[in-house]
């Protein structure tokens, strides 16, 4: 079973990794992806992340289930934050553990591509001048990244 959490608070990748690897001799590889808030060349004071409670957990669980069906994983953790997040702060953690590196890499990248295009989160920019800026537009390159998994 994957561990999935949607929360406003920051997360601790080291502690999450320890949960997946502690006391085990069968984990050969972990891949930890962390997505951070960028300042977009100093333009942003924060990103605001809105989400659809209930569906966010359900949709990520669906994607995680697909990853676990496609790759042999010993563990899979996804933590996605919501609320106001400042530049340099982490937004999302995907952590995949497996006996072998390729499964861990591919599962983590698969999860991120699907999270970007299927998980019900929406980012809005907050600008340095104190105003709320535009909603971030979905990128075609993210759709293309998702589609390559078939």
């Amino acid at each position: 079973m994957a561990t999935i959490r949607i929360q406003a608070e920051p997360f601790d990748p080291a502690a999450e990794t320890a949960v997946l690897t502690g006391g085990r001799g069968d984990v050969g590889a972990t891949v930890a992806f962390t997505g951070f808030c960028r300042d977009e060349g100093g333009r942003l004071s924060a990103l605001e992340l809105e989400h659809y409670p209930g569906m966010a957990e359900a949709e990520i669980a669906r994607i995680a289930g697909e990853a676990q069906a496609r790759w042999s994983l010993s563990g899979l953790t996804v933590i996605h934050r919501h609320g106001l997040i400042r530049p340099g702060e982490p937004i999302v953690l995907v952590l995949a553990a497996s006996a072998h590196r390729r499964a861990a890499f591919e599962a983590a990248e698969f999860m991120m591509d699907y999270l970007k295009t299927r998980a019900p989160f929406w980012k809005r920019e907050h600008l340095k001048d104190g105003t709320a800026g535009a909603w971030v537009e979905a990128k075609e390159s993210d759709d293309a990244a998702t589609e390559r998994w078939g």
Binding site: R118, P120, W122, V136
Partner: protein, 83 residues
């Protein structure tokens, strides 16, 4: 029927959720969108580019032709930008 809205769809409709009695003959998401657009300009604005707005029935992504029979909660929102 409980409807919920997110991000700029929520802003355009002007509310986060509402419960509406749907008239007969509304069988699909596309039917529902067509009916909402007839209800007022806030809905017309929210759905002005119907192809862009996404929908979910009971927390599951669906296409416009999906049936809404038996649905408890229908959501409309822009393309996702999480991760």
């Amino acid at each position: 029927m409980k409807l919920v809205y997110f991000a700029w769809v929520r802003e355009r409709v002007g509310k986060t959720e509402e419960t509406l009695d749907l008239p007969d003959g509304i069988a699909t998401i596309a039917d529902l969108v067509r009916w909402l657009k007839s209800k007022g300009e806030e809905y017309e604005y929210a759905f002005e580019n119907e192809a862009v707005v996404r929908a979910a029935v009971d927390h599951v992504h669906v296409k416009p032709e999906a049936s809404i029979a038996g649905a408890r909660e229908i959501a409309f929102f822009p393309p996702m930008t999480g991760g």
